[in-house]
């Protein structure tokens, strides 16, 4: 775009690099230090001690359980999204009844519903059906709030399939079911992996619904575990930061291996 180097921009971007990188540096180094080492050296020094105790401590304090719960919720949310969104997007893109057009408007409208605003009625509904403090109670609203963005992303990628391909299927006498599995699904793999990553991230990092819908140790998810950990171990910074590290490792792995889908999934949050 520009030919000569822009020194001012270079300076600004380096400052922002420091702002982003320093906390990450402290996060990583502190989590491998002893509490004494960290307290005497301070957060910005080079680490003087090395230990893995913080990580083993985190697991001893129940983080294994929190991990399991978070995995269960994440997989279920992704499962629900995968079952519900592809048929919906197919209907939105190819359906020509008035109802399917209305549905798209409905989901566009749904983009604007902030989840904070409905925590009281969600709490009311979930406790009334006896799902309070049950992971299923967290899964259902989390999946519902992942639907509008996922639908927007996937219907966008399904629109890229050319009408000629649909016509060819129709000429062969294919039913919608056959068209869906033979044509639509194989050709929208990119969009599908984006919505998988997006909804997984939503569920993994979700805080609001676990906060208001669960209570006991047995149903605690990792984000809530961090919050609880802070009130318990507020002064033990290395232990706390090791827990933060653990919570982000699966996301980092996804970042390394599915960067494209992740970036697109995050941009999809633009709809949120």
């Amino acid at each position: 775009m520009r030919k000569r180097p822009n020194y001012l921009a270079g300076l600004g971007s380096s400052i922002w690099l420091l702002v982003v990188a320093i906390p990450i540096y402290v996060l990583i180094t502190a989590s491998f230090q002893t509490q004494q080492g960290y307290a005497s050296g301070g957060p910005l020094s080079l680490p003087s001690t090395f230990t893995l105790d913080n990580y083993t401590n985190a697991f001893e304090s129940g983080f294994g359980r929190y991990f399991l719960n978070t995995f269960v919720v994440t997989f279920s949310v992704v499962g629900l999204v995968l079952v519900l969104v592809p048929p919906l997007s197919y209907a939105i893109v190819r359906g020509n009844s008035r109802a399917t057009r209305g549905v798209f408007q409905l989901f566009l409208l749904g983009l604007a519903v902030p989840s904070t605003a409905v925590i009281v009625p969600i709490f009311y509904m979930i406790s009334n059906v006896g799902l309070y403090d049950n992971l299923l109670g967290v899964i259902l609203p989390t999946a519902a709030f992942a639907l509008p963005v996922s639908t927007l992303i996937l219907s966008g990628s399904m629109r890229d399939i050319t009408p000629e391909l649909y016509e060819a299927m129709a000429v062969d006498g294919a039913t919608p079911l056959r068209t869906f599995f033979r044509l639509v699904i194989p050709l929208s793999k990119g969009g599908i992996s984006t919505i998988v990553v997006f909804s997984a991230l939503q569920a993994w990092n979700g805080f609001l619904f676990p906060l208001i819908l669960t209570q006991s140790e047995q149903t605690r998810m990792i984000t809530l575990g961090l919050f609880n950990f802070q009130t318990q171990y507020g002064v033990n910074v290395p232990a706390l930061l090791a827990a933060v590290m653990l919570s982000m490792i699966p996301v980092l792995l996804v970042y390394l291996f599915a960067r494209r889908a992740l970036v697109q999934g995050l941009m999809g949050m633009g709809g949120k």
């Binding site: 775009m1 600004g12 971007s13 922002w16 982003v20 906390p23 402290v26 960290y38 301070g42 020094s45 519900l84 048929p87 919906l88 197919y90 209907a91 939105i92 009844s97 109802a99 399917t100 409905l106 989901f107 749904g110 519903v113 989840s115 904070t116 605003a117 409905v118 925590i119 009281v120 009625p121 259902l140 519902a144 639907l147 509008p148 639908t151 966008g156 629109r159 009408p163 016509e167 129709a170 919608p176 068209t179 993994w204 805080f207 609001l208 906060l211 208001i212 961090l226 919050f227 950990f229 802070q230 910074v237 919570s247 982000m248 996301v251 970042y255 970036v263 995050l266 941009m267 949120k272």
Partner: protein, 305 residues
């Protein structure tokens, strides 16, 4: 339902309507979404006219909650704080993310590497970010103690002004990467021919930025502002973990206050009334922004993309 109605022979999407999916394909997702996202929006209005403590059934009490919240000085204080936080978020995040986004839109190798690092805060949950910054800014074991010339006595959570500063800064740290990503995409979508034309006219880098890049990114800027406003009006997770609304109620923004009313004071009726106020405010501001900016016209031109 409508699925059984005879399909119209529309050629809107080209081709015959043989083999078109009916409403039945959309029904499961629509019902699910209606039940857990749209129905609660109606229910919250209903609950705002009831008294409910979380146990037993809500009791209809007419306008009492509404009368009570309009007579609640803490609510008005929280609304003022919320507006302040939204304004601070806008003035810090919009310019920064536009500059970073335009910068990151360049295809140089070093920019790609740095963009990958800038991206990291986006991967962390709000809970992780809040816990991390709470630890980093700890008065005794954190960064303020190590660089006293920057932070004075180091207790940033003890005063309203510094606590607001911390929350604004953490919000910036958390959300700038996301908006940077949006503006990076927008800057890359500017047709290169416009820059070539500007160059022929003798415009330098700065003039090109103000006269080509910014106007071309208009839609993205409006979208981002709307997202920041709606997000700022409704998010409270960082407040809950970083300051817990304190000192006192000095950082208790309205959504946090609503959460407290509901899940700590167990006054779910009043909390619902506050939630309705928030939804109305967010919707009204978004509509005004869309109207004033003329975004609606452009959006309808792109509808369905």
């Amino acid at each position: 339902m409508t699925a059984l109605a005879p399909r119209k022979r529309s050629t809107r999407l080209g081709g015959p309507s043989v083999g078109r999916p009916g409403f039945v394909w959309a029904a499961p997702a629509t019902l699910f979404f209606g039940l857990f996202a749209l129905f609660p929006l109606v229910l919250v209005v209903v609950l705002s006219f009831t008294a409910w403590s979380g146990l037993g059934d809500p009791r209809f009490i007419g306008l009492d909650n509404w009368v009570a919240i309009f007579d609640d000085p803490i609510l008005f204080k929280s609304l003022g704080l919320t507006v302040l936080f939204v304004v601070l978020a806008l003035v810090t995040q919009v310019p920064l993310s536009i500059l970073l986004g335009v910068w990151a839109a360049g295809f140089q190798k070093n920019r790609a590497v740095l963009s990958a690092i800038y991206f990291i805060p986006l991967l962390l949950s709000s809970a992780a970010i809040s816990v991390l910054w709470r630890a980093l800014l700890d008065p005794n074991f954190g960064i303020p103690g190590q660089v006293p010339f920057l932070f004075g006595d180091g207790n940033l959570f003890g005063k309203q002004s510094t606590a607001i500063g911390v929350l604004t800064f953490v919000a910036m740290w958390q959300f700038t990467p996301f908006y940077t990503l949006i503006f990076q995409g927008a800057a890359r979508a500017v047709p290169p021919v416009l820059y070539q034309a500007a160059e022929i006219d003798g415009a330098g880098t700065v003039r090109q930025f103000f006269n080509v890049t910014l106007p071309q990114m208009r839609n993205s800027i409006i979208t981002s502002v709307i997202l920041m406003v709606v997000g700022g009006l409704t998010a409270f997770d960082t407040v809950l973990i970083l300051t817990n609304g304190g000192p006192g109620t000095d950082t208790a923004v309205t959504p946090f206050y609503m959460y407290q009313k509901a899940f700590r004071a167990f006054d779910f009726g009043q909390a619902s009334a506050i939630a309705v106020v928030l939804v109305l405010a967010a919707t009204a501001i978004s509509l005004v922004l869309v109207r004033v900016s003329g975004y609606g016209k452009m959006q309808s031109a792109q509808e369905g993309i």
